[in-house]
């Protein structure tokens, strides 16, 4: 018994840090509050029936977005903690070990558990509506994807109170992340958390690839797809081909750490740099996985608010296809300084510069779309307008980094940090905010408050530039990445950056408050078309009925809904209503991934019995699913007519 208590205090729980005690207490309080609220209002059944077991792409999309915003908060707090530590020389807010853990979790959470789920959430909600489908191709698999992401994120996030956070950077480079230099469970959390979440991402890629290719409404030809759908299709293809590389690399390092093999070790013929090679073979396509859907969102928003058809649709599509191909042949630019030969480094320099060309084409497409448009400056459009110049700064500095010889100067300095924050925040985060405010009325039945939206936009956008522009100059001044303490001569720019970070935090806080405020006070949408939209998602009523389309329209050109509006058509044609076949809800995805969580937790602590038990649970769930002959159900014509007439009021 005493041994057990010693284990809990010494190894299992992270002890000795006041900040972490605070986090533990707040987590415990929040959990108790949630349990209390659910019990008090008798909402457990509601939670299980309506959310945990749902296979509806709309609800899954909303759950993804909620989880992503929570992760944005967690990753943002990590970022703020780093900024506090780096504001002044000699700060003792975080020690070096703690700082290492914080930048590791900041990077991993922002990329894997914030950016991707946020975009996948928007894809989930919008893609089936844009192509005129009633759900994704594999609704059950979609639920599996979400729960594998959710439990992967949970596994990664508990590391900081149970067992200790990983501390080898989000790139997790060997040999630093190997068993010799980094024993204990913390690195295993990184490996297993990403592995579990990666299953979901891969399944999502397959799901959307099939959905977009096979589930389009009649007449929705490939070159009539809305551009967000196109960008998601390309993203899905990249996911399908890139994620297996990550899966293999993570598995090899897991075997290294837990079972003592020598793939990436320093001893026994291991090749530590092979980890970097495999990581970036996935990692660079990953960059495009998180930026292409954002490009799609900006295209939709700019076209809608400039009140013009998207300029250069074909060029857009072709440049995305080229980006998808090139994204697989640029990965070495992340480690030019490994010291490959001149031929290798020059080749990857050239491919990296090449990939800037299709991206540049897209910039001109957006500018061309706005040219002579009658632009409305609503919040989604503000995010999109701010994106263009900020992203260009990030892109141009990226080309500077692409020159292998020059990269020896920039490598691992704050110049790099500034560059990737400029592309990822201005691209992906602005894109997520633009997309969420744009599609918010479709999802929740009311717009976000414009005034608060604009306040949060200005705080966030100005804060972002104040925070990250100085970092380019800190990089020139020689400040290395991942340093936990600064030299006095970097202080003025560091203080400036910290002020910017605080402004961004205010912007985010206003954004979250806006969600609450709009829920309370925004006028409700009475019809489906909140922004005078052009693509098919705006043809549905708000709230969207769970079967999406009472009658699937015949698509007659690009901008399907624009054409329908001009003809006075809707997605409800009383004469043509037929029973609709829908998939049944299922609790198996949740339970299966809960078992996966248990098994992975066992592997993190190298308790093999627990890993095996969890795996058996997963296999049993798969077995049960294999003999599940539930083919779904049919929605009756009467129910459809009743729902539609209620949603459409007097109309038709």
């Amino acid at each position: 018994m005493e041994n057990f208590i010693n284990f809990l205090v010494d190894d299992f729980f992270v002890t000795g840090e006041p900040l972490i005690y605070g986090a533990m207490v707040s987590m415990a309080l929040v959990s108790i509050a949630i349990v209390f609220v659910l019990t008090y209002f008798k909402k457990w059944g509601y939670l299980w029936r309506e959310w945990l077991t749902t296979v509806d792409h709309k609800k899954i999309g909303i759950m993804y977005i909620i989880a992503a915003i929570a992760m944005l908060f967690r990753g943002g707090v990590d970022g703020l903690m780093m900024r506090i530590q780096l504001t002044l020389p000699g700060m003792e807010f975080l020690d070096s070990q703690h700082y290492n853990e914080v930048f590791t979790t900041h990077g991993t959470i922002m990329i894997i558990f914030m950016a991707m789920p946020f975009l996948i959430g928007l894809m989930n909600y919008i893609i089936p509506l844009q192509i005129g489908a009633r759900d994704v191709a594999f609704p059950f698999l979609n639920a599996v994807s979400f729960w594998s992401f959710a439990f992967g994120a949970l596994l990664f996030n508990i590391s900081f109170v149970i067992g200790g956070s990983p501390d080898a950077g989000w790139t997790n480079y060997a040999p630093m992340a190997g068993e010799n230099l980094n024993p204990g469970p913390s690195q295993n959390y990184y490996l297993m958390g990403l592995q579990v979440a990666g299953i979901g991402t891969l399944a999502t890629g397959i799901n959307f690839l099939v959905t977009i290719l096979k589930m389009r409404a009649p007449g929705m030809k490939m070159m009539r797809l809305p551009i967000f759908t196109w960008s998601s299709l390309i993203t899905s293809i990249i996911i399908v081909f890139a994620f297996p590389i990550l899966t293999v690399a993570l598995a090899l390092m897991t075997v290294d750490r837990i079972f003592g093999s020598h793939f990436f070790t320093l001893t026994g013929e291991g090749m530590p740099m092979m980890w970097a090679n495999l990581f970036w073979l996935w990692g660079h396509p990953e960059v495009y996985i998180v930026i292409l859907p954002a490009f799609g969102i900006f295209s939709e928003v700019i076209s809608t608010f400039a009140r013009k058809q998207l300029f250069g649709y074909k060029a857009m599509v072709i440049s995305m296809v080229i980006i998808a191909g090139l994204s697989f042949v640029v990965w070495v630019h992340h480690f030019f300084t490994m010291g490959s030969g001149a031929a290798v480094n020059s080749f990857f320099s050239v491919t990296t510069m090449l990939i800037a060309v299709p991206t540049g084409v897209k910039i001109f497409n957006w500018l061309g779309t706005m040219y002579k448009g009658r632009i409305r400056f609503d919040t989604p459009m503000l995010w999109s307008l701010a994106f263009i110049p900020c992203f260009v700064i990030g892109g141009v500095t990226g080309v500077m980094l692409a020159m292998a010889a020059a990269d020896y100067q920039y490598h691992n300095t704050y110049f790099l940090v500034a560059h990737f924050h400029y592309v990822l925040i201005a691209g992906t985060v602005f894109g997520c905010f633009a997309g969420l405010t744009f599609w918010y009325p479709k999802m929740f039945g009311h717009k976000m408050n414009e005034k608060l939206g604009k306040i949060s936009f200005w705080f966030f956008m100005i804060g972002f530039n104040v925070c990250f522009l100085p970092m380019y100059f800190l990089g020139f001044a020689g400040m290395p990445r991942r340093t936990y303490t600064i030299e006095p001569e970097w202080m003025p720019l560091s203080v400036t950056a910290s002020v910017g970070a605080a402004l961004m935090a205010i912007g985010f806080a206003v954004f979250v408050y806006n969600i609450y405020y709009s829920f309370r006070y925004s006028p409700r949408e009475t019809q489906g078309d909140a922004w005078d939209g052009r693509a098919l998602e705006w043809a549905t009523t708000t709230p969207v009925p769970y079967y999406n389309f009472a009658t699937v329209p015949k698509i007659e050109g690009p901008e399907a809904y624009w054409i329908m509006k001009s003809k006075g058509e809707t997605t409800y044609d009383k004469e043509k209503v037929e029973p609709i076949h829908m998939p049944s809800d299922s609790g198996i995805p949740f339970i299966m991934m809960a078992f996966m969580f248990v098994g992975s937790f066992g592997l993190v602590w190298e308790w093999i019995w627990m890993a095996i038990a969890g795996l058996i649970g997963v296999l049993v769930c798969m077995f049960i699913r294999s003999f599940d002959y539930d083919d779904g159900f049919h929605v009756s014509v009467e129910e459809i007519k009743e729902t539609e007439e209620k949603a459409r009021g007097g109309e038709k």
């Binding site: 320093l266 026994g268 073979l281």
Partner: protein, 119 residues
């Protein structure tokens, strides 16, 4: 080849299944106890892997059913492209100028090759 997956005895699947098992056993034998020189073993298991992949594609994955042929071919081409990039690209990147000789050096032909290419 017509679609065979509706009714009847799944001959193609059984043949493919047995062939897969045989190929796997042969590959394992070649690697573990054939006693061939290392380059031969590597060549042998590579060849066996390609045959195995073809069996998977034609026997199980309905490559030749043509109702969505264009998409299938496009995806396959992308798959081969990515596979080639991963394998050839990794070898190229990791061998030219990169020395992993720090722990006393390797002992097989592949390693000596790398060292020749160092500069």
């Amino acid at each position: 080849m017509s679609s065979e997956h509706s009714e009847g005895f799944p001959k193609k699947h059984i043949v493919g299944f047995i062939a897969s098992i045989v190929l796997t056993i042969v590959a394992a034998w070649a690697a573990l106890s054939s006693g061939l020189p290392t380059p031969w073993i590597i060549t042998a298991i590579m060849v066996l892997a390609v045959i195995q992949a073809c069996i998977q594609l034609f026997m199980f994955m309905h490559m030749t059913e043509t109702d969505s042929g264009g998409i299938q071919v496009g995806n396959m081409l992308q798959a081969f492209f990515v596979a080639a990039v991963v394998v050839a690209g990794s070898i190229w990147t990791m061998s030219f100028g990169y020395s992993h000789n720090h722990d006393g050096g390797g002992n097989d032909a592949e390693m000596e090759n790398h060292e020749d290419m160092d500069h």
